[in-house]
Subunit: 557 residues, 2 copies
Amino acid sequence: MPHPLLDKHRSTLDGALRTIKTRGYWSAYSEMPSPKAYGETAAEDGKRAFEAHLGNHFELHQAGQTGWRGTETSPYGIELNVQYPACDVPALVAAAQAAMPAWQAVGVDGRTGICLEILDRLNKQSFEMAHAVMMTSGQGWMMAFQAGGPHAQERGLEAVAYAYREMSFIPERSLWEKPQGKHPALVMEKHFQVVGRGVGVVVGCATFPTWNSYPGLFAALATGNPVILKPHSSVVLPAAITVRTIRQVLTENGLNPDLVALCVPASHEATQALVAHPDVRSIDYTGSTHFGRWLIDNCRQAQVYAELAGVNPIVIDSTDAYQAMLRNLAFTLSLYSGQMCTTSQAILIPASGIHTDEGDKSFEQVGSDLASAITRFLAKPEVAHAVLGAIQSDNTLRRIEQAGAGAMGQVVLAPQSLTNPDFPKARVRTPVLVSCPAADESHYMHEQFGPISFLIKVADTTAAIALAERIVRTQGALTAGIYSTDTAVLDAMTQATWRVQVALSINLTGGVFVNQSAAFSDFHGTGGNPAANASYADSAFVANRFRVVQRRAHPSA
Amino acid sequence: MPHPLLDKHRSTLDGALRTIKTRGYWSAYSEMPSPKAYGETAAEDGKRAFEAHLGNHFELHQAGQTGWRGTETSPYGIELNVQYPACDVPALVAAAQAAMPAWQAVGVDGRTGICLEILDRLNKQSFEMAHAVMMTSGQGWMMAFQAGGPHAQERGLEAVAYAYREMSFIPERSLWEKPQGKHPALVMEKHFQVVGRGVGVVVGCATFPTWNSYPGLFAALATGNPVILKPHSSVVLPAAITVRTIRQVLTENGLNPDLVALCVPASHEATQALVAHPDVRSIDYTGSTHFGRWLIDNCRQAQVYAELAGVNPIVIDSTDAYQAMLRNLAFTLSLYSGQMCTTSQAILIPASGIHTDEGDKSFEQVGSDLASAITRFLAKPEVAHAVLGAIQSDNTLRRIEQAGAGAMGQVVLAPQSLTNPDFPKARVRTPVLVSCPAADESHYMHEQFGPISFLIKVADTTAAIALAERIVRTQGALTAGIYSTDTAVLDAMTQATWRVQVALSINLTGGVFVNQSAAFSDFHGTGGNPAANASYADSAFVANRFRVVQRRAHPSA
């Protein structure tokens, strides 16, 4: 008998299962923050729910609580002062593990149904979540709503769909009858149990606290594992809201809420103790390559799914839509001040310039036209603030300053500080463009996170493709782009991306951007270059999070 | 258009795809070495083909050949003297990699069809392979035919089916149309390319040179990767025959045969150089935990699928078929002189004895009855030699001697040397049974590979289950067994196997044995305890051997 929550959300699951196979467009949760989709009072209710957290204790009733801890500062400069449960790490892990057998007993259908219910409830909280994501990560409002809410939920749903598909292949029971010629057949009755691997830890990042955490969270949960969410110390509230909702749904379904917990460690050492705990069997991580490598090297008891730093290249060979190309790039480089793991950093342009529908453009001209396009795009303050958001970290602020001071090459577009009238203390910066010859690898051949992009002068298009390939091979990349009107060039770039395993966007001149990926259709990361060892989401992302334990016996007479 | 070889073997693939889902009985290749299945002359042809290898150079026309190398000695004491190509490791890897793009271009259907053709051709060589496996591994004839031939081929087919299923989920192309309200939809045309990860190395073991190698070989190959087979230095011929056949089929299909190569390294250091080569991206390994750990620790550039040592436990609580239980165990402990990674090593029996249909039996009585059952089973020399085969390695011989001399506990059944009339120099030993209290962990708490089993006296059934669980948790196990007439005991054991993730066989008293697993139905290993980090086969075994590289563009008008 299917679980009632699986019945309730069956059409959502079916939509996801259908679309991960066809990879066309499909959406489960409305990306428009409209009363029609979310209800007349949703916007106001969500704002109030967010404001109710400020200055308060965020009660979760977790195991091993020893006190309260608050560590957030808002890039928008507002006071947050939320206090979260400070919990003893071994107690959290033990409580999570104690909740695991009952979660296993719920079975594949039950776990899937409950995950779908959780996602549905999170969706209804999208406004509350949007404020939480915006005020902690520095995203602009619309991005915070979309990427923090429905798009993150869809990445979670996608992981649930992959997990469900793989687990559904395992029959609960089979009858094995092997003919023995004239003798009676050998008959065995076999049972197959899907078993989670153990506690999963999801380590969140400071820029996309839900979008980058939900795939691992829901993949681990759906496959039978407890999960401890360890958010970035400066971006906790979105994870806390998520954990509270999950614990509520678990409780409503008669399950032990300790299956999912929030961990806000006191120190980096406490974080290391959490991830290295022998009962932690999977770690989903988004963040610096430094700590990611530490996890892979030191947490050998666990499978590590890691999204690390990268340098995303774009090759510009030629275009038949010069202005549209510039507008597209200007948006990409400005969105959330380039604080996306998918933002292009290395823009490779032949020294001799490019052919366009507006005639030939020199290397320098392309740079200055792109600078103008960015300036034009951000000319209206309301557009600028909506698109740029605020700078999340001090390190990014410092990098912008250094790049603006010419430390990374010749400044083509200097960064500007803007004042956000709604949030006077917000730290807002416009993008920096610098230019350098391909030989100056020390500038661009490692991630410069934030709104810093390099116009790199290469000998010709062939050299540009070769450099793009080497960048991806050595530094990793989540996205690559090319502009060309020449099929042979597009083919050469395509083959380069096959070799180094990076997704390619070709001649984007409209409303799709290289730094955006759509759930169910675009794989986020290939898992095949240094920027990530896994993809959101594919079968490999879920299949090793559970194991199958069989038992067999001759059927009783 | 489907590939002609996929068409040719479609029903075989369909059978495999159906059965990995239902997990009932199905067979693709006949396990009976009969003229009806294999042709009137197959037995004689196969024998001659095997004999033609002896004393000769095994020509493969591989890249980087520098000479010849022969390292085998037969456990049956016959002269082999086969010389294999000695090849430069970097040259082999470079040649394999050069063959990869064309293999990728064949596509999912083409690769699957060619893998199915290879398996079909290997199946037709089953007699030749049986002699090669028998004379190198020491298996008895029937096991060498079945496990070396059709059963190994079916494990390979199973891997192909899993790979095909996962790759088939990836559409070659999709149209993504996102509605934009009153504006025209955003439309992207997307292409998805399945790309192998790079050179796979398959490191074979000395006891099951094909059965344990074909899953990794075919999983890697089907998913688009070149493969280098590195057989155990004393068991090369089965791998060489396999490689020659694969290279023939590749050539017939217009492909570069260097995609698959045999590597017979000059030294352990040369093997290490092979597996640590930066272009090697997957390693399938069966063998000692020592080298397996080395691979996992040192070959960080590759994914390692490892089957390592283990200690397989059986709990005897009670039985309603005492004689049948003893016969079943006697066969399990005797088969191939216990040189199977699935043979039971630790037999846990309550100190107070067990209830049976023949009345209560003391701990000592069970031990002596099992010893008698083994002696009875092996009483006829022709049965003994067919079942026992020969001892593969000097180390195993030494362990048998030590156990027989009482170094591992009280000897309940002493090993005997037998003389095989057909192979007077064969080294044949009957099983050793020793008995010890549970406290003597130094004896049994690590793998004692070969025909050495421990009757372990535990306080009671609860303690037996707890000890079995601890054995699996700390030492790993591929199989576990229990005999009990008590449902509560079976439930407790079942739950223990869920916790430590090991397959359980319950009350085996007929023609199915704890150490045997059937392709398509039984998972071999769970991948969830120290005996193996992967299972033959499941989705996790294939899904991370390829990546998907997408490209997207607005459709041309």
